[in-house]
């Protein structure tokens, strides 16, 4: 019965969202205490005001006897009682804060980078992603870094928030006690909570909390973007997550900074020096790795180079994506690029985890993508031992290690 009651305490209330971390119950408990205290005193004061005003309202012709102008006893009462009441508020607030500050040993560490206006997460083992996934019941430490101005990393369901300050690392830890909605398949919100300019209100992100096995599965997929995807989908993922989308749209003729990718592949392109050529695989590859070599006429020489960040296999995938959105490329020729499962795992016909939607399948459900400043460049994934990108699919791919031991079986959920 107690667990049922406590489980119900997790649900969103009129005032607060769902409790999803180990510190949520302290925060909510203290909030509730202060809330009822406030209701009580508000009613007392309002009652005094309304009652006295009505009872002692001036009626013509009536005179009042004078009443005392002070009472030391009353003054002491309403000084001492409020003082006694605020002390436990301070104390429990402090205790709860200490719980937020003191990390349990060996937390799982994730670097969180905030920049105008997106969040990026770097996992041990080299996964870089724009979505936060964490396992339930595992202490996770966030190391927060800003690349430019103040931001703040806020997850309401966890009741956690910390400013992200340029020039220093801030840290905080969290241990999620609930799966995110629908068994961990839908995320909770992450907000930027410190004003940071134009797109402060869309500097949003999402956090998924999974059971350990689902987290491992997600991690494996995230480590290798080719798993479970077709080359077209991989190319689209790169387009969204590695900074291309900031400058190149996929709408016909719509220019953000650089030429639109719609109908680019296979089209005739004119360069600033007057030469004309076809935008084929070589052209795309050169544009990605050596963008200053040839400048598309009518555009400036502003594209940053991605040399060292994409392998030839990656550029292959990008080419497939560009082909898939070009009217110059016949649909029937898209077959090879559209086959799922060209990653290092067997084709995804085998055992997709039914409800698991890590979201990293190239669909827009992935949430906040690279809307950062133009030319945002992400670092190449640092490789975990054995998982060299760009190699042909190894016979037995090494399992990317999350570094988190599987938890001991837990008793009934708190």
């Amino acid at each position: 019965m107690l667990t049922a009651y406590l489980a119900q305490a997790n649900d969103p209330t009129f005032w607060l969202p769902k409790q999803a971390s180990t510190v949520s119950d302290n925060v909510d408990g203290l909030f509730t205490f202060v809330y009822w205290l406030s209701v009580f005193f508000f009613l007392v004061i309002t009652a005094m005001v309304v009652y006295f005003t009505l009872k002692y309202r001036h009626r013509p012709g009536q005179t009042r006897e004078s009443a005392a102008g002070h009472s030391t006893a009353l003054e002491l009462t309403w000084t001492i009682i409020p003082t006694l009441l605020v002390l436990p508020i301070f104390y429990y607030g402090f205790r709860g804060f200490m719980d937020m500050q003191v990390e349990p040993p060996n937390p799982y560490e994730i670097n969180v980078i905030g920049k105008m206006w997106s969040w990026t997460y770097e996992y041990p083992g080299g996964v870089i992603t724009d979505e936060l996934h964490i396992p339930k019941d595992v202490p996770v430490r966030f190391v927060l870094r800003s690349d430019d101005v103040l931001h703040s990393f806020f997850i309401p369901e966890f009741r956690t928030k910390k400013d992200v300050v340029p020039g220093r690392y801030n840290r905080y830890w969290v241990k999620a006690t609930q799966l995110s909605p629908e068994g961990g398949t839908k995320p909770w919100d992450i907000f930027c909570a410190e004003y940071c300019g134009d797109n402060h209100s869309t500097m949003l992100s999402k956090v998924w909390v999974h059971e350990k096995p689902e987290f491992d599965a997600w991690f494996k997929k995230a480590s290798d973007p080719y798993i479970g995807r077709s080359l077209i989908q991989v190319g689209e993922t790169f387009y969204k997550q590695r900074g291309c989308a900031t400058c190149h749209s996929t709408e016909k003729d719509a220019v953000i900074q650089g030429p639109s990718f719609r109908n680019l592949f296979g089209s005739q392109v004119e360069m600033t020096d007057g030469t004309k050529l076809t935008a084929d695989e070589n052209y795309i590859r050169e544009s990605v790795l050596y963008p200053q070599a040839k400048i598309h006429k009518g555009f400036g020489a502003v594209m940053p180079s991605f040399l060292g960040q994409f392998t030839d296999r990656d550029i292959d995938a990008i080419n497939w994506f560009l082909k898939s959105i070009s009217d110059k490329y016949p649909k029937e020729n898209l077959g090879p690029g559209g086959v799922i499962g060209t990653g290092s795992e067997p084709p995804a016909g085998g055992k997709p985890t039914p409800n698991l939607q890590p979201g990293a399948q190239g669909s827009p459900a992935g949430g906040g993508a690279s809307t950062g400043t133009g030319g945002a460049v992400t670092r190449p994934a640092t490789t975990a031992p054995g998982a060299k990108p760009g190699t042909a699919a190894p016979a037995t791919p090494p399992k990317p290690s999350t570094g988190i031991p599987d938890p001991a079986p837990t008793p009934a959920p708190k």
């Binding site: 607060l16 909030f31 005001v49 001036h58 402090f94 103040l150 910390k162 004003y195 797109n199």
Partner: protein, 599 residues
């Protein structure tokens, strides 16, 4: 002795000839022409000039508020994955950022910090003491021109913004302002395209208005009290003004230097706050909040002083707990300096600093609670008249209670981690700045309006406007508590489309429109009274402070003859009501109670 200054029974006050003035002369008619106003040394005229300028600022700040609440009814939401849609929506977000910043900056620097001290302090303080003017009348005029000078810079910022968005013009210094009124670094020094330097220069100059006014009031209260006006004979409005002045003088210079450092970094690249130049952004926050927390007490303390006056007068009862209220004002002023870190609990400052600031923050709640209980107790066995000023005073008591209690949530460390930088904070400070300070300001304006202009406003319209404003205010800001605790961050130009946020934002916007219409009604009431209002008696309220012992409007020298000798400011014995609502003093009866001291 004081008989000549007293209003005559059953009659409106006759302006008393004296000191060579033409009969019927008052401070408004003394001296003709614009120059006699622009170069006046009369504290009352300076107060009126402040009033016009400050009310105009309130109007501008209010326009920005309505604009931003309107934008939040249905903000543009673009899929962050769709860069073209984001590009279009970004323009709307940029506009919103300028609007919320200017709403805050104009309201804080040009309205709410100066409002009660510069208008009511200037007008009333010398008279309540029994003095002819403040200690340094020329300094007083200089304070006004500092305000105007600072305001000019803000006008420049506004014009630069309007010209840029309408015509694409780029005035020197940047356009508009989009840093938030707090100017946090490094965004303000390294990233913003706003007119940051003009705006901070404007705030710098406005600060001198505050400092010099504070200095003047401190000197006046110390030096110009006539014999017999002891500290504990002063009306509580003066205790409040004195406490405020102490804060103004000690805290404002810190802001001034901070803003100069900000300008040095932005203009000259001197690395103080920007880590890219070797600086520390959190240092800026410390400097800024060291002033800005005491600043909020500059806003609320004089308002509390007004409330003490209103509640006593309209209950016809001696204020309950005079000594405790007086000492609480001083305590609040002193404690206000040691709690600034509670704005920075999640900045990464040390746990020890957080703990100390949290504990001290609760300490400043206690004197405020003491005041609220004393005000409520003053009503007990009173003879309460619900005139418009009293409605605002009672509204203040209830809304300040909510504002103050929600401060407890924010002072508690663990709860603050969740609530800081959300709409919960926005609601909290609007309850104390608007539900409290603005209400006190409006109550004080209504209260002293007859004295300032010699005209009565319409009670009927005044009461209706109060109800509209009270309802509108609560509808605007209470939903903000709810969405804040659900995680709605502040300074957001758009928000996720879900009922918790959409519904509360729309309730809030509706409330804002209702409140605005109430405020329009208030303005209408005042303007109409100037033209068609009933002539005001010397003492329409039966108050016992000295400004009511002189005609309405007062003569140039404040009193028709020598200043009356003050007795207990809250001793209403002897004041009798005429059938027309004005009050006269029955000297004999007053003498009977002359020595009954309630302190």
């Amino acid at each position: 002795m004081s008989a000549t200054a007293l209003p005559f029974p059953a009659d409106h006050s006759q302006p008393h000839a004296g000191h060579g003035h033409a009969p019927g002369g008052n401070y408004l008619t003394h001296g003709k022409g614009v120059m006699s106003w622009l170069f006046t040394l009369d504290h009352k005229r300076i107060a009126i000039m402040y009033m016009i300028a400050i009310l105009a600022s309130f109007f501008i700040g209010g326009v920005f508020a309505i604009l931003l609440r309107t934008l939040l009814w249905a903000p543009p939401v673009a899929d962050p994955n769709n860069a073209m849609a984001m590009r279009a929506a970004t323009a709307a977000y940029q506009f919103y950022n300028h609007v919320f910043t200017l709403h805050g900056a104009v309201m804080v620097f040009m309205f709410i910090i100066p409002a009660v001290p510069a208008i009511m302090g200037n007008f009333v303080l010398p008279m309540q003491l029994g003095a002819k003017d403040v200690a340094f009348p020329r300094l007083n005029l200089l304070s006004f021109y500092c305000w105007l000078g600072g305001a000019l810079f803000f006008v420049y910022v506004l014009i630069s913004g309007v010209l840029h968005s309408a015509f694409g013009t780029n005035l020197p210094g940047g356009f508009g302002l989009d840093t938030g009124w707090t100017f946090y670094t490094p965004y303000s020094t390294a990233k913003s395209a706003g007119a940051v330097i003009p705006a901070t220069l404007g705030a710098f100059i406005l600060g001198f208005s505050s400092i010099l006014t504070g200095l003047n009031f401190i000197a006046t209260i110390h030096m110009l009290r006539p014999k017999g006006m002891t500290w504990f004979r002063m009306p509580l409005f003066l205790w409040a003004t004195y406490s405020t002045s102490v804060i103004q003088v000690l805290a404002t210079p810190v802001l001034a230097i901070t803003l100069l450092l900000l300008i040095a970094e932005r203009a000259l690249g001197v690395g103080i706050f920007d880590p890219a130049l070797g600086g520390d952004p959190v240092l800026y926050q410390h400097f800024f909040w060291f002033y800005s927390h005491p600043a909020v007490y500059i806003m609320v303390l004089p308002a509390m002083g007004v409330i003490s006056e209103l509640i006593a007068v309209f209950s016809r009862r001696h204020i309950f707990g005079y000594n405790f209220i007086a000492f609480s004002s001083i305590a609040i002023a002193l404690l206000s300096f040691i709690v600034w870190g509670h704005h920075m609990f999640v900045s990464g400052q040390s746990t020890l600093a957080n703990a100390i600031f949290s504990l001290l923050t609760f300490s400043v709640a206690i004197p405020s609670a003491i005041k609220v209980f004393n005000w409520a107790s003053t009503l007990y066995k009173g003879d309460i008249r619900l005139k418009t000023p009293m409605l605002y005073a009672l509204g203040f008591v209830m809304l300040f209670t909510i504002g103050g209690l929600t401060g407890l949530f924010l002072g508690a460390l663990s709860v603050d981690v969740h609530l800081t930088d959300t709409y919960f904070v926005v609601a909290h400070f609007h309850y104390v700045m608007m539900g409290s300070t603005l209400f006190a300001f409006l109550g004080g304006m209504y209260y002293w309006w007859p004295k300032m202009f010699g005209k009565m406003y319409s009670e009927y319209v005044g009461r209706i406007a109060f109800v509209i404003i009270f309802v509108g205010f609560n509808l605007t800001f209470f939903p903000q508590f709810v969405m804040g605790s659900h995680g709605m961050p502040r300074r957001y130009a758009s928000y996720p489309d879900r009922p918790m946020f959409v519904t509360n934002h729309r309730l809030s916007t509706s409330g804002a429109y209702i409140m605005a219409s109430g405020l329009v009604l208030v303005a209408f009431n005042w303007v109409h009274s100037l033209r068609r209002g009933r002539r005001a008696p010397a003492n329409p309220w039966g108050a016992n402070t000295l400004e009511w012992r002189t005609p309405s409007p007062p003569p140039h020298d404040n009193f028709p003859g020598p200043a009356p000798v003050a007795d207990d400011p809250y001793d209403f014995h002897g004041w009798k009501e005429n059938p027309d609502g004005s009050w006269y003093l029955d000297e004999a009866e007053k003498k009977k109670y002359a020595d009954s001291s309630h302190h």
